[in-house]
């Protein structure tokens, strides 16, 4: 069974590095230990606050909450066609199924039949117009979940429909001028040109590149599916346990569906088994339906959808189709760019408009574009309503310019890295974005220089060429791509957060904030911030479930802003308590309050040292308020939605990755051999958690661009890839044998929480390097300077198609 590893293929001695080497490369435990000893609680690789609960199986997800007696279960009956009219329902057979308690339709909803987050165009249950195959039409409530599912599965027989031909692709929607929101235009010229002028500038440039690109969508595939558990309370109130990134929005939408005030709805979420954007708005349908059923039956109702139904009902990352036209000079510098982006929005607006805004605001990625004409169209299709997914349009915007630059380099016969560099934003000039925000924190030059050095890019470029010259079947490819990603919600008022910190008389601390924990380590970081502020052990601090009855009017945990906003709010609360404690300590023990020091569970005051909990005890006796709220609003933001300009981002996060792949020219199969990553998180609050975000995003983004393919039936509109058996996300064998990930040394130029930077979304763009390494290998299989028409996802089939194209005479 031994298959020796051929040396010429596996020529990296560090491949399959033992775990000790992986740790050493990433973290500096010695430095962290010294900082910890000196009292720091941020900058420490504290394990996830729930890690022990995770590994022991005792972390409670919504479905694990002990069910109250009398709990009923809900399942949804889904539309069997993608478009048309609902003529009627024969629900008696459904009602006759064993265990069925009630069947609800749109007419039963006491309040608004709508869960739309921005535009109110999302019915909870079908109101007559069938919008997509999988749209919920009725809800069955039964004694067990299995009974509810079996009854709901009769939808096909129970529903009388008049089918119409569906519109399924963005191009088709665009051709019909069918959009969920009005088109967006961002035309900007550094020399005062209008669009016609920009187009003329492009046409007059020394070189010109025109083309189109398809980039597929992506299913979030949170491991924990959508779920809500609604418990009726006295006086028409309701308590909803919901796996959601946005408890406040769930609260509002449930209130509307029930026709009650927000104060009658409490939404709680201890943790999600992953969210990735898929539980930002789209948890609402389930929260609303469970709540409606619970209210009407006066019984607790749980709605946990089966994975296939989750795929069929909810939306995902928008797929995009682009047409571009750029003019450039001999160095590959872009002189003018025009791009049209059309997304598949699905049947309703959901978050498609802000996703498109972010796509348009990230077309520049790390590059200065003196003249741009961008047009964004959100195509209305008879498919699931697409929504947020990590990156939120940013990746879709940026990959287009990377595709263009890669094409320019190939057309010129230059190394793509040189062309990318030639277009980088400058530091004092060439630094205004198309939306007119000046880039003041640019570190892409030094970051890419460092990565080029650490990855051995130039030597490997030579080695790859040498390999390809003698390899008949396999071809290698190499690419190094940069990331610049704007941090903040484009909508100014979302950039606020609140927190509560309680210090109990035994010195233990409870924190609650408006952010939600979906695995990203938000609670860990917020607890670190509070422990740091109060100078206590991390173990003293406990973070509790996000709860609309604690912190009100919260924003979604999204746009990578969770720690920036909630960390600052918690710090604000902790600082108020610390100030009160310091005043109390100074009054009791002498000295001035400003000189009181808190560190390592000790307090130094007036030349004395006392334990933190002793001071807390004293403060209680002195009637000092030992709990506080905290609030934060990101400063300096502005955004003019109509003119598409302003200062939408507090700062930018940067990164770069270098990937090497090998491609089989006979089958299109490929393998990532090695990836080197350098990513900017400012001054890290928790290096281990940040590296976890970077690596996870890398593999997730790689899945998006390679193996994760969504396929709808071309006539019926059925999503054929509706389960992990048909929709393939990366596995352990897709993690490259050599994966060198490091954090860039630096700090946030802005006054963010401890000068850290957001890390949730930006690293999702790092695996562009994988896609372009594949394109590089494909190019090596064909004639020089032929542009491989590689589309994303670069499945083996897409790769072989591109190879066949570049090999064609």
């Amino acid at each position: 069974m031994n298959k020796p590893v051929p040396g010429h293929v596996l020529n990296h001695p560090a491949a399959f590095a033992p775990y000790q080497d992986n740790q050493r490369l990433r973290l500096d435990p010695g430095a962290e230990a010294r900082a910890h000893q000196a009292g720091a609680r941020v900058g420490i690789s504290q394990a996830h606050e729930s890690a022990v609960l995770h590994v022991s199986g005792s972390a409670t997800y919504t479905d694990d909450i002990p069910e109250l007696a009398g709990t009923l279960h809900c399942a949804l009956g889904l539309a069997p066609v993608a478009a048309g009219r609902l003529l009627g329902m024969d629900l008696d057979t459904v009602r006759a199924m064993p265990g069925v308690v009630r069947v609800f339709t749109a007419a039963d909803i006491p309040g608004a039949n709508d869960w739309g987050s921005i535009v109110h165009d999302d019915p909870i249950l079908c109101d007559g117009e069938i919008r997509y195959l999988g749209q919920p039409v009725f809800a069955v409530v039964a004694r067990t979940r299995e009974q509810a599912r079996r009854a709901a599965a009769l939808a096909r027989q129970a529903l009388r429909v008049e089918a119409a031909p569906p519109v399924l692709t963005p191009r088709e929607a665009h051709a019909r001028g069918q959009y969920v929101v009005p088109p967006m235009h961002l035309v900007r010229s550094s020399s005062g040109l209008d669009e016609a002028g920009i187009r003329a500038r492009i046409a007059a440039a020394p070189h010109r590149l025109q083309g189109s690109l398809d980039v597929g969508g992506q299913e979030q595939f949170y491991l924990e599916g959508q779920i809500s558990y609604a418990i009726p309370k006295e006086g028409n109130a309701i308590h909803v346990h919901c796996s959601t990134q946005h408890p406040s929005e769930m609260q509002h939408l449930v209130a509307h569906a029930l026709g009650v005030h927000a104060h009658a709805v409490q939404v709680e979420c201890r943790r999600m088994g992953g969210g990735f954007g898929g539980k930002e708005s789209q948890s609402a349908l389930f929260a609303c339906m469970a709540s409606v059923a619970a209210r009407l039956l006066a019984r607790p109702v749980k709605l946990r959808v089966d994975r296939d139904d989750d795929f069929l009902i909810t939306g995902r990352r928008h797929c995009f189709w682009y047409e571009y036209d750029v003019g450039y000079d001999d160095a590959g510098r872009i002189l003018g760019a025009a791009v049209t982006m059309v997304s598949r929005a699905g049947h309703s607006a959901d978050l498609s408009a802000p996703v498109m805004t972010r796509a348009l605001c990230h077309f520049d990625n790390a590059y200065w574009l003196p003249e741009v004409a961008m047009h964004g169209f959100c195509g209305k299709t008879n498919t699931q309503s697409n929504t947020a997914f990590r990156g939120f349009g940013g990746p879709q915007g940026a990959i287009a310019i990377e595709y263009i630059l890669d094409g320019i380099a190939r057309a010129l016969g230059h190394d793509p890295l040189a062309v990318r560099r030639a277009n980088f934003y400058g530091r004092g000039e060439r630094n205004v974005t198309p939306y007119l925000q000046t880039v003041r924190d640019n570190v892409i030059h030094e970051l890419v220089d460092q990565l080029e050095e650490r990855s051995g890019y130039q030597a490997r470029r030579t080695a790859v060429a040498a390999f390809n010259a003698t390899s008949p079947v396999l071809k290698r490819g190499l690419a190094l791509t940069p990331v610049k990603f704007g941090i903040s919600f484009n909508v100014k008022h979302f950039n606020q957060a609140g927190a509560l910190v309680h210090v109990y008389t035994d010195g233990s601390i409870l924190v609650n904030h408006g952010g939600t924990e979906m695995g990203q380590g938000l609670n860990t970081k917020v607890a670190q911030v509070v422990a740091h502020e109060l100078g206590v052990a991390f173990e003293r601090v406990r973070v509790t479930a996000t709860d609309t009855s604690k912190v009100a009017n919260t924003s979604a945990t999204a746009a990578s802003t969770g720690t920036d906003l909630n960390g600052k709010a918690a710090q604000d609360a902790a600082r108020q308590i610390r100030a009160r404690l310091a005043a109390c300590a100074a009054a009791r023990h002498g000295g001035s309050a400003e000189d009181v020091r808190f560190a390592n569970d000790q307090v130094w005051v007036g030349g004395r040292q006392l334990a933190f909990d002793a001071l807390v005890g004293e403060a209680y006796l002195d009637r000092v308020q030992l709990w506080s709220d905290g609030f934060y609003a990101t400063p300096g933001l502005s955004w003019d939605k109509e003119r598409m300009q302003g200062h939408p981002f507090y700062y930018f996060a940067y990164g770069a990755a270098c990937s090497e792949v090998v491609v089989d020219t006979l089958t299109g199969e490929w393998k990532l051999l090695r990836a080197d990553v350098l990513h900017d998180v400012g001054r890290s609050l928790n290096p281990a958690v940040d590296i976890g975000q970077v690596e996870g995003a890398f593999i997730q983004g790689m899945g998006w661009l390679t193996m994760e393919e969504l396929v709808w039936h071309p006539t019926s509109g059925l999503l054929l890839t509706h389960a992990p058996s048909t929709y393939k996300i990366p596995t352990a064998n897709d993690c490259p044998p050599e994966f060198n990930v490091q954090l860039f040394e630096g700090e946030n130029a802005e006054d963010s929480i401890h000068r850290s930077k957001a890390v949730g979304e930006p690293p999702l763009l790092l695996p562009f390097s994988v896609f372009f390494a594949i394109r590089d290998a494909v190019a090596a299989a064909g004639a020089r300077r032929k542009l491989p028409p590689l589309q994303a996802p670069a499945t083996s089939e897409a790769i072989l198609r591109a190879i066949t194209a570049v090999q064609a005479p």
């Binding site: 596996l10 590994v55 022991s56 979030q220 491991l223 006979l666 992990p724 596995t731």
Partner: protein
Amino acid sequence: MTHATPSSADARPIRFYHRGAVVSIQGMHTTRTVLDWLREDVRCTGTKEGCNEGDCGACTVVLGELDANGQLQLASVNACIQFLPTLDGKALFTVEDLQAMTPAQSCCGGAAQPLHPVQQALVECHGSQCGFCTPGFAMSLWNTYEQHRQAGTRPTRQQLADDLSGNLCRCTGYRPILDAGQRMFDLPAAAFDRAAVARALQALAQEPALAYGAAHHTISERTDHFHAPRTLEDLARLRLEQPQARLLAGSTDIGLWVNKQFRDVGDLIYLGGVRELRAVEERDGALWIGAGATLEQAWAALAARAPALTDVWLRFASTPIRHAGTMGGNVANGSPIGDSAPILMALDAQVELRRGAAVRRLPLPDFYLDYMKNALQEGEFVQAIVVPLAAFARQVRGYKISKRFDCDISALCAGMAIALDGETVASVRLAYGGMAATVQRAARAESALLGQPWTEDSVRAAQQALAQDFQPLTDMRASSAYRLQVAQNLLQRLWLETRPQGPLDAGRTSVFSVLPHGV
């Protein structure tokens, strides 16, 4: 000896070992899944449901069984597609069991129960983020841990990745989990009392064979039966007596029928208890693979004799699916995209069918009549797959093409075997899955090669003939054009690897050769 078919009243309960005691279950339907029982009935909610179809691994548990020598053998499986009665006589381990294997710390002090090394390593290596997949990973890693602790070995990083092929994580990107898989062997060892479990299972083995009945959940007045015969003779008799009953082996397909399609599977006859059918051994110049042998056992035996099949082995579903599913089931099921059949056809395998005492053998191509239709007669079943050892004297290849390396259904899968006489093709077998309604040999392409010199020109002729052999379909896995192009190109790959002059090793033809599989 025989047992009368019992009514539900006199049936003994299902009995298995769980959390240190023997559990007895009666009244639950035959298709109640292990996962639903764990989560809903005994509130062991550490085991999660991610997909309900055996593809994500969040529900991974470990089963313990005694082997022919009375030794306890462990194997990870997906709880979501295992029916409760299949646990009869076995031991069930879940994430809740791990800490009990860690010796409590000698001193007092009210410290929390220490973590098992598997768990401790996951924490130290930051191997969990959202944590939902983590219990499944912990159980797969525990399976690996015990396997290597028993053998006194440590897995390579590649073996760890292969062991985790059935566990999806959407957060971490896997590197820290693989780190934990290495780290766990550097931590103080955990104690797992195998002998105690073995004793409990020996006691359970004294019970009569399970013939269980329970009321159907929707059809009143109907009792569904679950028979778990222990001898081939009993199985053959039951099959004759109850030809309407469905045979159940690994339930990696039937589990989905129940969970996703709500199909009524009726009475079940379970093959897992028939020890004779679990044998994989050489008999009379052939490799005899009993219909109850797991996919893991069967593929290991094939790859031991044809190392070039290692990739197809490791890419067949996932580790937990290969622990549960059988090659007999894969062959009998007859899916056009099953990966066993093309390889077995290339190896000239026969199926051994039994009806009562009568045994007959059919060449595998003759077994498949049409899409999901086979040559089994009423009361007959697949008893074994028989591979002539002579087949391994040819150059054998297995090429699987799918979107993902691990646990993916083939766009196409090719089994190929060739023998040269000098530079002439003396014999050739080219079998393809994913190219037609059944797995089929490429008759025209084979004829184009047989007796011809093994040259690139002959390959071209065979490629053209292949286009006559197959008109594949377009579906979500691949287009018709891609399937045909790759099927043709794989002939080129075969030639490059086996040509008399300067054959290329796999390192120059397969991108996956960078994965150092094998021990």
